[in-house]
């Protein structure tokens, strides 16, 4: 017979006997009654259901968030991967779950690990939206003295913090951007794996189904053994046939809401392609770079460099500054074939002769026309700096945003953008986790070749809390690699369109890095534009057939 342990708290009886022997002091009867009244309001009669919403009357919680919180509590025993698509409010879900556990008295000691840039934001949201007294880790003594702490993994894993943290018995661990913990050999992974915890929430926007080893390692943080041991797992799930079984296992610990499923009225995404024509000098430069490919790309002289012509081509489309930086690096190499060196020097000269920049001009024109906040994404730091300078020349205030900024600087930049500047220029690494719902215009100055990253960019402004339609302008220079990608691939698969959730289907068919590699290969190894187009069309068809498969599977499941 399994009896629960019984425990009687003697605090009251001890002080009762001391009051008996000292003949008081005795409490006021009305306060006695009030105390019972308070308890009657606080008592929670059911194991299931959510109390937290009653405590949070000012917070608007969406149905999918309530449902997620309830499932984590009742079906998942407080161990879950929250993998909603970008912008659906995973933080709110996590806060709701944490609040519920705290109200019920099941959780007291909490460690929240988030990217450095998000520490402040998490803290202020937990305090202001959930009345959870979360504290930013600033001094080392907080680990022991405070109950709810927000920190970055990078800080937490270092001594002297690490050993103190390992001594704590946490009731709950929350990890934001958990997809970064996919490699079990990293220090971060091992640190997290070693934390003692009762409940655990992992937040990620990246669907994980198809990256087998990553799924395994992520779930091993949550619930080691859920997918067996590593060797068995690798053997068993080698073939695609078993994926359905794996999917079901994963679904037991993962919640993934998609925008297309949620019953909300989303602001529209208005996507426009802005075609740009190179100036003559730019076209000349681009052609010279392209010509390199034919002569050098497959030769040994070139292959020793970690750059491809493709990189240079993409940089040409972004800014001459970006090309310049790469070329400069190349020319500093010592073991370069003299013929190649001469040619590169020739190109360098062309770079310096470029005076007009068609894309930047277009960007300036658009920013002036929009006359509202605009966020511009570029892949290259050189472009970022150039644009900031260029805008300043024309009296437009722009602030930069990069992944490498310190936490406080990121907060500061975001605030500057909100209050003072019209434009925020962000590089890729700066994309994650900043929420800019107050902005409704985004320019993709150049495009990443990883659709997940595009979705993350858009998710900065197209998210819960965005009240207006969102305008996305994709810049593309005519007759260049950019043109191919945008027109033949992204537009055909409907990447930017309202029909969201498509990204999942693509990624279910193909790993995100895989898609990137395919694209690079096609562009690198094709002899002519025609060939590029045909190959990209094949890739598109392949992705689309994936969709049908997914759809028919979903339909079959419903029948």
């Amino acid at each position: 017979m399994n009896m629960p342990e019984l425990s009687f708290d003697r605090t009251w009886s001890d002080s009762f006997s001391s009051r008996l022997s000292q003949n008081g002091p005795w409490s006021n009867w009305n306060l006695f009654r009030l105390a019972l009244q308070a308890e009657q309001h606080l008592v929670i009669n059911d194991f299931d259901g959510l109390e937290a919403p009653k405590h949070l009357p000012h917070l608007s919680i969406f149905p999918h968030q309530l449902e997620a919180a309830e499932r984590v509590l009742t079906e998942m025993n407080g161990k879950a991967i929250l993998a909603d698509e970008v912008g659906l409010g995973k933080t709110i879900e996590a806060g709701l779950i944490l609040k519920e556990y705290m109200i019920r008295g099941l959780v007291k000691k909490v460690l929240i690990l988030v990217p450095a840039s998000l520490v402040t934001q998490w803290c202020s949201e937990l305090n202001s939206k959930f009345f959870i007294p979360a504290v930013e880790q600033r001094k080392s003594y907080v680990w022991e003295s405070c109950d709810v702490i927000v920190s970055s993994i990078d800080t937490a894993k270092r001594e002297p913090h690490r050993s103190v943290i390992y001594e704590q018995d946490y009731d709950m661990i929350i990890i934001d951007e958990a997809h970064k913990l996919k490699n079990k050999n990293t220090k971060n992974y091992q640190f997290v794996r070693g934390l003692k915890k009762k409940f655990c929430l992992l937040l990620t926007a990246t669907p994980v189904q198809n990256k087998l080893s990553e799924v395994f390692h992520l779930i091993s943080i949550l619930k080691p053994g859920h997918l067996g041991n590593e060797e068995g797992f690798t053997k068993e799930f080698k073939d695609a046939d078993q994926h359905e079984e794996l999917r079901q296992l994963v679904q037991k610990v993962m919640i993934r809401n998609r925008r297309s499923d949620s019953a909300m009225d989303w602001p529209k995404r208005i996507v426009k392609t802005v075609e740009i024509e190179f100036s003559d000098e730019e076209m000349e430069l681009y052609n010279a770079v392209t010509a390199l490919k034919r002569r050098w790309n497959k030769t040994h002289e070139w292959s020793i460099f970690p750059f491809t012509v493709l990189t240079l081509q993409r940089e040409c489309c972004s800014s001459r500054e970006a090309v310049y930086m790469t070329l400069k690096g190349l020319l500093e190499q010592e073991e370069m074939a003299p013929a190649l060196k001469t040619e590169l020097e020739g190109i360098m000269e062309m770079v310096q002769n470029v005076t007009r920049h068609a894309k930047a001009e277009k960007a300036l024109e658009m920013v002036q026309k929009i006359d509202d906040k605009v966020i511009i994404f570029t892949e290259y730091r050189a472009t970022q700096l150039y644009l900031q300078w260029y805008f300043a020349q024309h009296g437009i205030k722009a602030v930069p945003f990069r992944g490498g900024f310190k936490r406080s600087k990121k907060d500061w930049m975001k605030q500057l953008f909100k209050d003072r500047a019209q434009v925020l220029i962000a590089t890729e690494a700066g994309g994650e986790g900043i929420n800019l719902q107050f902005c409704h215009h985004m320019i993709n100055y150049d495009l990443p070749w990883n659709p997940m990253r595009i979705e993350q960019r858009i998710g900065r402004i197209h998210r819960l809390g965005q009240e207006q339609d969102v305008n996305i302008y994709n810049f593309s220079v005519q007759n260049t690699v950019e043109d191919h990608i945008l027109r033949t691939l992204y537009q055909k698969i409907g990447l930017f369109e309202e029909v969201i959730g498509k990204l999942d289907d693509i990624l279910e068919k193909m790993r995100e890095e895989e898609l990137e590699t395919h694209i690079s290969n096609i562009l690198n190894h094709s002899e002519s534009d025609g060939e590029v187009r045909i190959k990209l069309e094949n890739l598109t068809a392949c992705i689309e057939s994936g969709n049908e498969e997914v759809e028919s599977r979903a339909a079959g499941g419903r029948a």
Binding site: N2, L6, S13, L34, D169, K196
Partner: protein
């Protein structure tokens, strides 16, 4: 808890704690805090320390709470010297007040206010009863609670469940009324506490504990999985043991009994026969 309940609760609370309400609307209360309430709620220990050192005249703050924005005066944010605080069920301030109430209302000794209509009658006996109001929590990876109120007659050992429901109909006062005497207990109050504890535990043991069985089953399942995770290693590593411990911590079912408050009640009428008049509170 409705906002009106919050309003009523706070009003009673401050009234009972020598902190008079200076101004009130259906949506707000403006209160002159007593020294004790200022110390308990305003979080300014340095001021009080300083004042005690120099022996100055205490100047406790006034506090304004808003329970319904729409029913409060429009100038509520400028009306008083200090900022008004919006209070609702989830706000930390209300929970601070709840906790303070529990501290201040933990132990009572009360006497039934006997209405004597015939002076010729001899002194009236008052029976001693021990009351304990408890919160019983059933906790594993989930948790629920229930309130349980018991009264024990210290002269004959009679025990009544749901005691508070009877108690609230008594007119009570803190001093023994004239022409009454208390019957001396045969059971010492401290042993009474033990009796109530034993009886409560006995009742809990007899309950249906499917929830605990389920928790044990989940625990076994998770430990089984954990073992599988390490099935390749010849000797189970330290991490296995600490993870197993965490799983046990998560699921181990435990029932905790904590006493919210309680005390001694000297009653003339038997609780089951008490006249049920409508309370004015």
């Amino acid at each position: 808890m409705l906002q009106e309940d919050v309003h009523k609760y706070l009003k009673t609370f401050f009234d009972e704690n020598d902190s008079p309400v200076l101004e009130e609307s259906p949506g707000h209360l403006h209160i002159q805090l007593s020294v004790d309430m200022d110390k308990a709620l305003m979080n300014r220990p340095f001021y009080w320390q300083y004042l005690e050192k120099i022996g100055g005249v205490p100047n406790p703050w006034k506090m304004t709470v808003v329970t319904d924005e729409n029913a409060a005066p429009e100038d509520i944010n400028k009306r008083y010297e200090r900022k008004a605080e919006a209070i609702h069920f989830g706000s930390p301030r209300l929970h601070q007040v709840f906790n303070l109430t529990k501290e201040l209302g933990s132990h009572v000794r009360m006497y039934e206010k006997v209405a004597r209509n015939n002076l010729s009658v001899q002194s009236l006996p008052l029976q001693p009863w021990l009351n304990m109001n408890m919160k019983i929590s059933y906790e594993a990876e989930k948790k629920r609670d229930r309130l349980f109120s018991v009264g024990l007659c210290l002269t004959n050992g009679e025990m009544i469940e749901g005691f508070y429901n009877h108690l609230k109909f008594y007119p009570l006062e803190p001093e023994i009324p004239d022409y009454c005497f208390t019957v001396s207990p045969l059971i010492r109050p401290v042993s009474g506490v033990e009796r109530i504890r034993e009886q409560t535990e006995r009742l809990i043991r007899q309950e249906n504990h499917t929830w605990a069985e389920e928790a044990f089953a989940k625990m076994r399942e998770d430990i089984e999985l954990l073992r599988g995770f390490y099935s390749d290693s010849e000797e189970l590593p330290d991490s296995y043991h600490s993870e197993k411990e965490a799983i046990e911590r998560q699921y181990s079912p435990v029932v905790t009994i904590s006493v919210i408050n309680g005390g001694l009640f000297y009653l003339h009428q038997h609780p089951l026969n008490v006249k049920r008049f409508r309370q004015h509170w």
